[in-house]
Subunit: 131 residues, 2 copies
DNA sequence: ACATAATGATACTCATGTGGTATCATTAGT
DNA sequence: ACTAATGATACCACATGAGTATCATTATGT
């Protein structure tokens, strides 16, 4: 079970690269090698980040992507939310059979607590921290 | 992303059923309905629990399964370890590109901490708690 | 105008993991 | 012997994840 998937991994690498690059825009062609991922795949990821408003996109020759906000304001949690969907440990597979009082279920509360703490932790890691 | 999969879910229900049943042995045929899962599937799960020493198995007519230890000594973590493999959030997808100092990587430490806390929490939930 | 270099959108393929079924062998009670 | 149980495996179906391919669109530079 992975907490963080490839997309988030590559996205973080790319954003770190962009943060360090200190250029107006950075194209996928420029990033793909240092990030270590094929161009088309990275493009797909960058497009998602663009739709989510994490990066700006500039089309056309000389274009590319740019961070839409400062590295310290881009958190790992944002990347996870965008690229692997909201992190929910709490699918509550346990139904009425085991847990007559759904609302009071011990396990559900435990798992909900774990989830809250996990989210707080990944929310505390920014691109600046990684760069 | 699920912290706990179906196998663990069904196993917990079955063990709770057994803990409540207060019989020398409980057969799959008896459990499958209240647990809400097809017999063959539950059997496969019970076989794993047996190999792991969590339950005893009695073959032949009148046989079935029995808890190998008290409900308060069977934890959710044991079930997770047996049925979905050791819980590892920390696959460290981040390599040298982003994290020159593997041993000192902030992210790795964060994730390792989350994992430790998660394991401690699921270790604190027993079948007795659920019954 | 036109070639070129970039992103936007989308469809497709392939591998892996998960959930579930089927079958035959073995064991023990009646 | 018959029957009711587990033991062991092999198999299948579906969802998800990882990655590729293709065409459309936009902007720059000559």
């Amino acid at each position: 079970m992975k907490l963080i998937n490839r997309d988030v991994d590559y996205a973080a690498r790319a954003l770190v690269f962009m943060a360090r690059a200190n250029k107006p825009t950075v194209s996928v062609a420029l990033m793909q090698d240092p990030v270590g991922v094929a161009g088309p795949f990275l493009r797909k990821i960058m497009q998602k980040l663009h739709k989510a408003g994490i990066v700006h996109a500039v089309k056309g020759k000389g274009g590319g992507f740019a961070l839409a906000r400062n590295p310290e304001n881009i958190t790992l949690r944002q990347l996870v939310d965008v690229l692997q969907g909201r992190l929910k440990l709490n699918d509550c597979v346990f139904g009425q059979k085991i847990c007559q009082h759904h609302a009071a279920c011990i396990l559900r509360h435990k798992i909900a607590g774990m989830e809250t703490r996990l989210l707080a932790e990944i929310d505390g890691v920014t691109i600046k921290d990684l760069a």
